[in-house]
Structures are given as C-alpha cells and as structure tokens.
Amino acid sequence: MAKRIGSNHTNTLTATADATNLADSTYPLAILGGSTTQITNIMEIYMGGQSTSSATTFTVFGIDSQIATGSLTKDATLTDAPMNSATAALAAPPTIFNKAATNKPQRSSSLHLMNLTFNAFGGVVRWLAAPGEEVTIVGNAASLGQASLSAFTGGSGIIGAHIIFETF
C-alpha cells in the first residue's frame, strides 16, 4: 500500500478508436492489476503538451476491454517508481507498460472514465481525485482489471504524462 508514479516523459500519440488494438508505444501508459484480488486506485493524471505546432489531442483514460498479454514492457521514456524511497516492494505489483508482445490493449467503448481533451501545443491537463473518490481497477481480468491513457480518434500530439496510483 504505497503510492507510485507511472510516468512517460515523452510520447508521440497515435489516435486509436475504441475496441481497437493500441499499437506499441503509441500511448503513454497502461496499468494492469497484479493479481485477481488486487485493487489499485488512480488518484492523479497529468499531461503536458510537447508538440511544436497546434495539435488538439483527444486523450481518454478508460478501462480496457481487451487485456494485454505476452511480455509487457516499457519504452525507455516510461518509468514506474515509488513516491517514497522507503516503499517496500509488492509481491505482485501492477504492471505499467506501453508495449505488449501478444494481445494489445483495447480501450473499451463503454467504459471511458475521463475525457481529457487539450491542445498538445503548450496545453496542460491535471486531474486530482478527492480522497475516497479515486478511479479504481479491480483484479487483472477484463473488464475491470486494466486501464489505459491513450488518444481517441480525432487528433493527437506529443505529450508527457504521469499517473499516481496506490495498490491494495
């Protein structure tokens, strides 16, 4: 039970429709529960635009209808670190990733949790949950066990992003 930050300091988004494979490295990050009985609260989402020209970006944080499988890995720009250096390692930590070897994550068409549209040319978006009002992923199976931050159809840019989460 410790807060961690999944952070991608730069990512070029590719707009992807719901229920469609999110191609490797085209989304900042996804989070998959570490076990069938695990709960993870997401309490903050931040995105900062890095595009060099105007780029309306339709980013969506949503539950995934298809769970990623195979080796789940990160770009070199993506990190997962505890907020406190004294944090003890979990036996089954949630996986932060933006590349999946076998099945790619697919954003659910009905379980969008947040629509964070902004202009990636200088725009900034930050959402904070009130205590007890966090967005939650449960277990590690569809359709509650994995969530992703990705660009929805319509526009995309270059962004840096992080989420703060706590696993129970």
Binding site: T117, F118, A130, V138
Partner: protein, 111 residues
C-alpha cells in the same frame, strides 16, 4: 458525515500558453464552452456506479442524479438507469463480487 463538497476532485486545463481547443471539440468531451481556452478549473465528482469522472458545470440548473442506495451523485447515463430501476449498482458492489469470485477460485485451488 461527509459533505458533498468533500467528494469533489479537481480538474485543471491550462491553455494560457497555447492556442487551445475549439468549443466544438470540448463540447464532445462533456466540457462547457470556453473550457478549451485560457485557464479552466473545475470541480469533478466520480460516478459511484460507473466511475466516470464528471466535470461539474456550475451553470447547470438541472438536478444531478443521486443514488439513494450508495448516497452518492451519479452520472447522467447511470441516472437514467437508476430512474428506471431504482436499483443501486454501485461500483463497490461490482468490485466486491469480482474479488469474492476470485477468492473462491483461490480457495478451491487450495483444497
């Protein structure tokens, strides 16, 4: 006892150094006109049934849907379902049922 305000989150969209986003684009994202320009700050709440994060529009005059089962504001889509069924389908219950099912499988394996 919790106040309603204590359940509010916070959303910041800062386009002070950016061309911003057109009203047409923010309209599709359930944000009020003007939210894509300059500095936009708003309170949010999390629907207790589907976990959708609702941006509170201060100028809205219609009542928010409220579930008497979980005593929490819910989003408009869940509000329509609740109005028809009067059944609380809170996310906490869904989570509990997922965890319970998972725990039963674990126990069966142990036996």
């Amino acid at each position: 006892m919790k106040s309603k305000r204590s359940t509010e989150g916070y959303l910041l969209i800062d386009h002070r150094n950016s061309p911003g986003v057109s009203d047409a684009a923010v309209w599709h994202c359930d944000l009020p006109p003007g939210a894509g320009q300059g500095l936009f700050e708003a309170a949010t709440y999390t629907c207790s049934h589907c976990l959708y994060v609702v941006v509170i529009e201060p100028k809205r005059t219609r009542d928010r849907a409220h579930c008497m089962g979980c005593h929490h504001d819910i989003c408009d889509a869940c509000g329509v379902i609740y109005a028809k069924t009067l059944a609380c389908s809170s996310f906490k219950r869904k989570a509990e049922s997922v965890l319970e099912a998972a725990a039963q499988i674990v126990n069966i394996k142990e036996l």
